[in-house]
C-alpha cells in the first residue's frame, strides 16, 4: 500500500525567489496535501524579499525584516544548489550537487541576472551588481563616509543603490545613458523632479552620459570611472545597475521555446505542457516583466491552474513603486506617449506633487505619480481592467476620492487575479 504522499503529484520549482515562494504558498493554501512540492534555490539563504535589499543597504531595514517565511505546508526547500539540467522524458532535474529529483510538473522560476555593460574594468575589485543579498553584503563594508561611489544606471535599482550608498555617507554620482532618470517608468517631467529631489540629498547626476571604462589601481581595485566625453569621476565603489536578462539557459537546453524569456501561454505553460514558467524568466504574450507584482500574479495564477482552478492570466500592468526617503513614486503602464495618446497632467510646485496619465481610446494606459502615490492601486486597476474612463475623466487625475461614482465592478475572480497588491509591487 502506498503512503498518501506517493499518491501526490510531484512538483519541482526551479528557483527560490519571490515568485517561487508565492507560488508554493499559494498552491499549498489552495490544495493542501494534494502536491508534493520541492523548491530548489541557488542562493543559500531562505527566500527573502528582494525588494527590501535597498532598505537593507540604506540601513532602513534589518536582515530578518526581509525573510518571507514558510513557503507552505508540504514544501521541501533545497537551497544552495543549482539545477543544471532538465530531462523532459524522464521528468527529472539534475542539480549541481549531483542530486536528481523527479517531477510530474515542473515550474521554472529562475529569475534573471544583471546585464554587465560592454566596458572594460567590470571585473575590478569594488565593482558590484545590486541584485542579491550577497551583493549587499559586499557593498556595505565598502560604503563608508566620504567614499567616492559611482552608480552606472539611473533606473529604479540604480537609484535605490545610490540612495542607500548616500545614506551610508558615500559621495555618489549616478551615470545614466538616457536624458532623464528611469526613462522606462517615468516621463521626462517626472524624471526631472526625481533628479531635483535626489540632488537635494547630495547625489550628483550625469545624464545622457555613456561610460567608457572603469579604471582600477595597481591593486586591481576600481578607482575611477571614465565617461565617453572624457570626464573622470573618482570611484572606489562602482555599482552596475544597467538592467537584467531572464535566465533561460536551462530551458533552452531542455528544448523549450524561448524568446527573450521562456515562452508561456495564458496558463503559464511552456511549450511542454508539463512545464510552467513564472516570474522574470517567463515571456508572456511577448512581454518579460521585471517587477514583483506581475511575478506574483503569474505565481498565483499558475498555482490556481495546478489546483484545478485554471487561471486566465492575460498579462500584468507594469507598475513601479518607489519610496526613497519620503519620495512616493509610482508608475504603471505605458510611459512614452504615442501620437494617439492623450496626456493628462496635474502638478503642484507647492508640495512637489506630480501626476501624468496617458489615455488611449478612452482607456487609461499609463500613470506616473510623484509625491503622492496613494491612488496607485486605483490607477493600476483601471489600467489592468482597461475600463472606459470617459465618466471618470474630469477627475481622473485627482484620484479616487474625487470620483463620486464607485469604480466599475469586476467579478471577484478577476479582482483576485487582476489587481496587483501595490504595497508589494516593486522591482525584483
Amino acid at each position: 500500500m502506498n503512503s498518501p504522499s506517493d499518491l501526490c503529484a510531484r512538483v519541482v520549482v526551479v528557483g527560490a525567489g519571490m515568485a517561487a515562494h508565492r507560488f508554493c504558498s499559494t498552491l499549498s493554501a489552495l490544495a493542501p496535501g494534494r502536491f508534493r512540492v520541492t523548491m530548489i534555490g541557488e542562493e543559500t539563504s531562505a527566500p527573502y524579499n528582494r525588494v527590501g535589499l535597498s532598505s537593507l543597504l540604506a540601513g532602513e531595514a534589518a536582515l530578518h525584516d526581509l525573510h518571507l517565511g514558510d513557503p507552505g505546508q508540504g514544501v521541501e526547500s533545497v537551497l544552495g544548489t543549482r539545477v543544471t539540467a532538465i530531462d523532459r522524458i524522464a521528468r527529472r532535474v539534475t542539480c549541481a550537487d549531483g542530486r536528481s529529483i523527479a517531477w510530474d510538473l515542473l515550474v521554472l522560476a529562475c529569475g534573471s541576472q544583471p546585464v554587465m555593460p560592454p566596458i572594460s574594468g567590470c571585473e575590478a575589485g569594488g565593482v558590484h551588481a545590486f541584485r542579491t543579498l550577497d551583493d549587499v553584503h559586499a557593498l556595505l563594508p565598502a560604503a563608508s563616509p566620504g567614499t567616492p561611489a559611482v552608480v552606472i544606471g539611473g533606473g529604479l535599482l540604480g537609484l535605490e543603490a545610490a540612495h542607500g550608498l548616500a545614506l551610508r555617507g558615500a559621495t555618489v554620482t549616478v551615470v545614466h545613458l538616457a536624458s532623464h532618470l528611469m526613462e522606462r517608468q517615468l516621463d521626462a517631467g517626472c524624471g526631472a523632479r526625481l533628479a531635483e529631489q535626489f540632488s537635494a540629498r547630495g547625489i550628483r547626476f550625469r545624464l545622457g552620459a555613456s561610460t567608457q571604462a572603469i579604471h582600477a589601481d595597481a591593486s586591481g581595485r576600481a578607482c575611477e570611472v571614465l565617461l565617453v566625453d572624457g570626464e573622470r569621476i573618482p570611484a572606489d565603489l562602482v555599482v552596475i545597475a544597467t538592467g537584467v536578462r531572464p535566465n533561460i539557459g536551462l530551458a533552452q537546453a531542455a528544448g523549450l521555446d524561448c524568446g527573450r524569456g521562456v515562452i508561456v501561454d495564458d496558463w503559464l505553460r511552456t511549450s511542454d505542457e508539463h512545464i510552467f514558467a513564472i516570474g522574470e524568466c517567463s515571456e508572456h504574450r511577448g512581454r518579460c516583466y521585471g517587477l514583483v507584482a506581475p511575478a506574483f500574479e503569474q505565481a498565483e495564477s499558475c498555482a490556481r491552474t495546478l489546483a484545478g482552478q485554471p487561471g486566465d492570466y492575460s498579462g500584468s500592468s507594469e507598475s513601479t513603486h518607489l519610496k526613497v526617503s519620503g519620495v512616493a513614486l509610482y508608475s504603471a503602464g505605458c510611459i512614452q506617449a504615442t501620437a494617439e495618446d492623450e496626456e493628462i497632467r496635474l502638478e503642484d510646485s507647492g508640495d512637489g506633487f506630480y501626476r501624468r496619465l496617458l489615455v488611449r481610446d478612452d482607456r487609461l494606459v499609463g500613470a506616473v505619480l510623484y509625491g503622492d502615490a496613494s491612488d496607485a492601486s486605483w490607477y493600476a486597476g483601471l489600467i489592468q481592467r482597461s475600463d472606459p474612463v470617459g465618466e471618470l475623466r474630469a477627475h481622473l487625475a485627482f484620484g479616487q476620492s474625487f470620483v463620486a461614482a464607485p469604480t466599475v465592478a469586476v467579478d471577484d475572480r478577476r479582482r483576485q487575479a487582476g489587481t496587483p497588491r501595490i504595497e508589494e509591487t516593486e522591482v525584483l
Binding site: R345, L346, D348, G350, D351, V359, A394, F398, F402
Partner: protein
C-alpha cells in the same frame, strides 16, 4: 441697512438693491477730485475750465451748440439748477435726460390726455382695486416692494384679480390670474379692442364723458377700425379669443380697476399711443382719480418724476410750464429775470447724440448717467462723444464707459451723501437726507452747476446757500401766477416758504400742495378738472401700427431688453455688491428652448446678436417663457465690465415720433453661435491687474476676489507656458508658485497661483466650449485672504470640494443671502410653501422679489416627488409647515 418704517411708499421694506447698499459704499471706485484730461485739479480750475469752454462754444456757435444730458439719479434741486441754467440763461433747450429712455412716452401720453404730466392715482389704489392690470411691467423684479404690496392685498382679498400683459412669462406673470402673452408691440390693438368692448357692453360712463372728456367719437372710430371684434384682436395680438374675451369681461365688470404700465409700454415707437390707448379706457369708464381705479405709470428711476416736475426734458420748460406756450415762456422769464429765454424745444436724447455725431454739438455736460451704455445704437453715441470738442462728466465713479471720453471729470455725490428731494410714481415728494459725509472733494450737483453759472456771469441768479434755497425757488415758480389761463396742476405753493428747519423735517407729501396748505393730494381728476382748456381730458384717437423696424428674413428675431432682479442701470453701483452680482453674474440671452435648437445654439454657449446697428454677445439661457422668435437680454452690462455685453450697441435707435422714446423692446436681430472654442474663468486677488486678453469676458465682483467669465477663439499660448508674470494678458505679482492641471485632448487647462505664504492669487480655468462646468464652488471658495493647503489646492484645480460636500448653488434671496442649496435642503426637510421656506431660511422675507423663484423650486421638487411616487395622494404632506427646521 433698514428702511424707514414710517415712509408711506415702502413702509420700511427695501428691495434687494437697497438692502445691499452698504456693500456699495467703498471709495475704491469713487471719483474724489476734479480732473482735466486725467490730471487732478482743484475746483476753481475745473469750474473755470468748464465755464470758459461752454462760453466759448456759445460765443462761436450759438447756444444750441452746447448741451446737458442729465439723469433720474439727480435730486430735484440738482435737476432744477441744470434746467434753469440751460433754458433761462444759456437760452436753449438742449437739456435732455435719461428719463427720455424710460418715461417720456408716459409724459407725452399724460400731456395729450390730461394737459399735464400727472399720475392721477396713488399706491393705495393698488390695494383697493379689485382688478390690477399690469402691462409691460415685470414689477416682481423691477418694483418688488410695490409688487409685494399688491400680492399681500390679494392674499387679504382673494377675490382681487391680477392680469399681466407681457410677451414674456416673467416672475410677475407667475402671480397672474391671467397672463396675456401678446405679440410684442400689439398693445394698442388690445386696448382699442377693450375700448370697443366697453362701449358695446354699456360700460362707458356717459356722465363723466359728457362733463369732463372730449374726443370720444374719433377715438372710438379709430378703435373700431382697428378692432371691430375680439377675433380681430386675437388675430393681431396672437392671443386666443378666449383670453381676450376673458380679459375684456373682467375689465368691463370690475369698477375698481387700476392699469399699471411701465417700460414695455413706454419703450416703443408707438409708446405714446399705447399710453393713450390705456388712458382712453379709464377716461371712457370714468375710472380715474377715485379709490382703487386709474391708469398708473410705474416710473423707472429714483427721481425721474422730480426731473419731469422741474422740466428737465428738452421738450418741457419748467414746473409744468409748456415750452410751446409763449405765455408760459414769458412767465418763466419773468420769474427768473432771465437774460436769454429759450424759445423752442431742444434735441431729445437720441437726436442730441446724432447731432453731436454730425459735429453740431461743441460742448456737452453729462451728469450722473452713462449714455455710451444706456442709449440705443450706443456705438454711434461713443463715436459722437469721441468727436465732441468738450465733454464734461459729473459722476460719483471714476471709470465707466462714458467717463472714458470725458475731458473734464467732476466728482459728484453718491446717493447716501445727497441732500434734497425726490418724487416717486405717486407724486410723493420725499426728503433725501445725507447719511454719509462726502468723500474727497465730491460736491452736490446743484452746487457744481451754480458755480459754473457764476463763472458764466450769473452770480445772483444761482446764489443758493443750500438745497432748501433751491427747493423754495422751485416751489415758488410752480405757484407763480398759477391761476386762470396759466393754471397748472403742478403747484408746490404750500411749500414755497418752508424754513430751513421745516425743509429739513419735511414729511413725505403728494403734490399738488397748493398755497396755504401743507397737505398733499392723494388723487386727481376724480371729478374732472383737467389742466386743459375747458378742463376736459382728451380721449386720443390711436391706431395700431407695427413697430418702426420689423423683422425680415435677414433679421428674423425680436430682441427685447430690460432689467434683471438684482441689478440696476449700468452697474456702476450694484456691481460693487458681491451679493447682487450672484443672482445674474453676466449678461444672458433668454430664448425659447426650441429656438435655441433651431438656431444651432446650445444652452450655456455664447451667442452673437447682431442688428443693423451693432453687435453684442451673451450666454444662452433656455427660457420657455420667451415667445418663439423673441429674445431677451439685460440692459445693464457695460464695456467697463464686459467685452461684448453692452446690449445697446445693437439696439434700434428708432423712437416714438411724439415722445422721442427709443424702441428698446423691439430690435430685429439675427442670432448665431459665437465662434468660441473655449470658455473659462479667472479668479484674481486685487494684486492681479489688467484686462483678459480674450475675445469675450465679463468682470464680476466676487467679494473676496474679482472673477472674469471668459471665452475665446484661440487657445491661449500662456496656458502651456511657465508663468512669466503674465497670464492671459493679466499681470501677476512676482514670486508666485504654481499648480496646474491640463488635459489638452479634452481642452481643459487650470492654473492656480499661490504666493509664498500659500495664499491663492489667481485661478485660471479653461474648458472647451460645450463642456458643462459648474463654477459656483470655485467662486464661493476662492479667497485670497486665507492660505490653502495642498488638499485644497488639488480641490481648486479639480473644481469640486475635497470632501464631496455640496456647493451652495445659485443665490436665490439677495436680501438674506440664501442660496439654492439651502432652499432645496429646507424643501427636503419638509417646507412645502413659500411662507414655510421664509420661516425656515429667511428667503423671500426681505423685498420678496425671489418669491417666484422659491415657488418654482417648490413646484419642481413636488413635481419630482410626485414622479417618484413618494408623496402619493397625501397632499396634506405638501402642506406641512416646517417651523422646526433650522435655518
Amino acid at each position: 441697512m433698514h428702511g424707514d418704517d414710517a415712509h408711506p411708499a415702502n413702509r420700511g421694506r427695501l428691495c434687494s438693491k437697497g438692502a445691499a447698499l452698504a456693500e456699495t459704499l467703498g471709495h475704491a471706485t469713487r471719483l474724489l477730485v476734479p480732473e482735466i484730461d486725467g490730471q487732478p485739479v482743484d475746483w476753481e480750475t475745473a469750474l473755470a475750465y468748464v465755464a470758459n469752454g461752454f462760453m466759448r462754444a456759445i460765443a462761436e456757435h450759438g447756444p444750441e451748440s452746447v448741451a446737458f444730458y442729465v439723469s433720474g439719479q439727480l435730486l430735484t434741486e440738482d435737476y432744477y439748477a441744470a434746467n434753469k441754467l440751460m433754458k433761462g440763461y444759456i437760452g436753449a433747450a438742449n437739456i435732455d435726460t435719461n428719463s427720455r429712455l424710460c418715461m417720456s412716452s408716459s409724459v407725452a401720453g399724460h400731456v395729450r390726455a390730461f394737459g399735464a404730466d400727472v399720475v392721477p392715482g396713488c399706491y393705495e389704489d393698488l390695494e383697493l382695486a379689485d382688478l390690477v392690470v399690469m402691462t409691460g411691467s415685470n414689477a416682481a423684479w423691477c418694483h418688488p416692494v410695490l409688487w409685494q404690496r399688491i400680492i399681500a392685498a390679494r392674499r387679504a382679498r382673494p377675490d382681487m384679480r391680477i392680469v399681466v400683459i407681457d410677451p414674456r412669462a416673467t416672475a410677475t406673470t407667475e402671480d397672474a390670474d391671467l397672463h396675456l402673452a401678446l405679440h410684442p408691440g400689439s398693445d394698442v390693438l388690445l386696448f382699442n379692442g377693450l375700448f370697443v368692448h366697453l362701449m358695446r357692453s354699456g360700460r362707458l360712463d356717459s356722465t363723466f364723458l359728457a362733463a369732463h372728456v372730449e374726443g370720444r367719437d374719433d377715438a372710438l372710430a379709430a378703435a373700431l377700425a382697428d378692432a371691430p371684434d375680439p377675433s380681430a384682436v386675437a388675430l393681431g395680438t396672437g392671443l386666443s379669443r378666449n383670453d381676450v374675451e376673458a380679459f375684456y369681461a373682467l375689465f368691463a365688470h370690475t369698477e375698481r380697476t387700476v392699469t399699471c404700465y411701465s417700460q414695455g409700454v413706454n419703450q416703443s415707437s408707438a409708446g405714446t399711443d399705447k399710453v393713450n390707448a390705456i388712458i382712453n379706457c379709464h377716461l371712457a369708464t370714468g375710472r380715474i382719480g377715485r379709490p382703487g381705479m386709474g391708469p398708473f405709470s410705474l416710473t423707472g428711476q429714483p427721481n425721474a418724476m422730480g426731473g419731469r416736475e422741474v422740466g428737465g426734458l428738452a421738450t418741457q420748460l419748467a414746473a409744468h410750464l409748456r415750452l410751446d406756450e409763449p405765455a408760459h415762456r414769458a412767465l418763466a422769464q419773468a420769474f427768473w429775470a432771465s437774460p436769454r429765454m429759450v424759445d423752442r424745444p431742444g434735441l431729445k436724447a437720441v437726436e442730441l447724440f446724432d447731432a453731436m455725431a454730425d459735429g453740431h454739438i461743441k460742448a456737452i455736460w453729462i451728469m450722473g448717467t452713462n449714455p455710451v451704455v444706456s442709449l440705443p445704437a450706443a456705438d454711434r453715441v461713443r463715436a459722437a462723444l469721441a468727436r465732441c470738442p468738450l465733454v464734461v462728466v459729473s459722476d460719483c465713479v471714476r471709470v465707466n464707459d462714458t467717463l472714458a471720453h470725458a475731458h473734464v471729470r467732476l466728482p459728484a455725490l453718491a446717493w447716501l451723501e445727497k441732500d434734497g428731494t425726490v418724487t416717486n410714481s405717486e407724486r410723493r415728494i420725499s426728503r433725501q437726507r445725507p447719511l454719509l459725509t462726502a468723500p474727497g472733494l465730491a460736491r452736490a450737483d446743484w452746487w457744481i452747476i451754480a458755480q459754473v453759472g457764476h463763472r458764466m456771469g450769473w452770480v445772483q441768479d444761482f446764489d443758493w446757500r443750500g438745497p432748501a434755497d433751491v427747493f423754495r425757488e422751485h416751489a415758488r415758480l410752480s405757484a407763480f401766477r398759477n391761476e386762470g389761463s396759466l393754471a397748472r396742476a403742478f403747484n408746490l405753493g404750500g411749500l414755497a416758504d418752508l424754513t430751513d428747519d421745516a425743509y429739513q423735517g419735511l414729511a413725505p407729501v403728494q403734490w399738488p400742495v397748493p398755497p396755504g396748505s401743507q397737505q398733499g393730494t392723494a388723487r386727481l381728476f376724480g371729478h374732472g378738472g383737467f389742466p386743459r382748456s375747458g378742463g376736459r381730458a382728451r380721449i386720443v384717437a390711436v391706431s395700431h401700427r407695427q413697430p418702426h423696424q420689423t423683422t425680415t428674413a435677414e433679421w428674423p428675431f425680436i430682441l427685447n431688453t430690460g432689467r434683471v432682479r438684482d441689478h440696476w442701470h449700468t452697474l456702476t453701483r450694484t456691481a460693487l455688491s458681491p451679493r447682487l452680482s450672484r443672482h445674474r453674474a453676466e449678461p444672458a440671452l433668454d430664448l425659447h428652448p426650441e429656438d435655441i435648437a433651431g438656431l444651432g445654439l446650445r444652452e450655456g454657449g455664447i451667442a452673437q446678436v447682431e442688428s443693423r446697428w451693432g453687435v453684442t454677445m451673451a450666454r444662452v439661457v433656455a427660457d420657455p417663457g420667451q415667445r418663439r422668435g423673441c429674445a431677451f437680454m439685460p440692459m445693464h452690462w457695460t464695456e467697463t465690465l464686459s467685452s461684448r455685453g453692452r446690449v445697446n450697441a445693437a439696439v434700434n435707435p428708432h423712437s416714438d415720433p411724439i415722445s422721442g422714446q427709443p424702441e428698446f423692446k423691439y430690435t430685429p436681430v439675427r442670432i448665431t453661435p459665437a465662434p468660441f472654442i473655449w470658455q473659462g474663468i479667472l479668479l484674481c486677488a486685487p494684486t492681479v491687474t489688467g484686462r483678459p486678453d480674450c475675445a469675450f469676458h465679463v468682470r464680476v465682483n466676487g467679494g473676496s476676489h474679482t472673477r472674469y467669465i471668459m471665452a475665446g477663439t484661440d487657445w491661449p499660448r500662456s496656458l502651456t507656458e511657465r508663468v512669466d508674470g503674465r497670464v492671459l494678458g493679466m499681470t501677476l505679482p512676482s514670486g508666485l508658485r504654481e499648480a496646474h492641471y491640463t488635459d489638452p485632448a479634452r481642452g481643459h487647462a487650470r492654473r492656480l497661483f499661490m504666493d509664498a505664504d500659500e495664499h491663492p492669487v489667481a485661478l485660471l480655468a479653461l474648458w472647451p466650449d460645450g463642456a458643462i462646468i459648474d463654477t459656483d464652488w470655485w467662486s464661493s471658495t476662492f479667497d485670497p485672504a486665507h492660505p490653502i493647503n495642498a488638499a485644497m489646492r488639488r480641490a481648486l484645480l479639480a473644481g469640486v470640494p475635497p470632501d464631496g460636500a455640496t456647493t451652495a448653488g445659485a443665490l436665490i434671496c439677495a436680501c438674506h443671502g440664501v442660496c439654492a442649496g439651502a432652499v432645496t435642503r429646507a424643501i427636503e426637510a419638509g417646507c412645502a410653501s413659500v411662507e414655510a421656506l421664509g420661516r425656515s431660511t429667511g428667503a423671500g422675507t426681505g423685498c420678496g422679489s425671489c418669491r417666484p423663484e422659491l415657488r418654482r423650486l417648490l413646484d419642481s421638487s413636488q413635481h419630482r416627488a410626485l414622479l417618484q411616487g413618494t408623496m402619493g395622494s397625501t397632499t396634506a404632506t405638501a402642506a406641512v409647515d416646517c417651523l422646526a427646521v433650522p435655518g
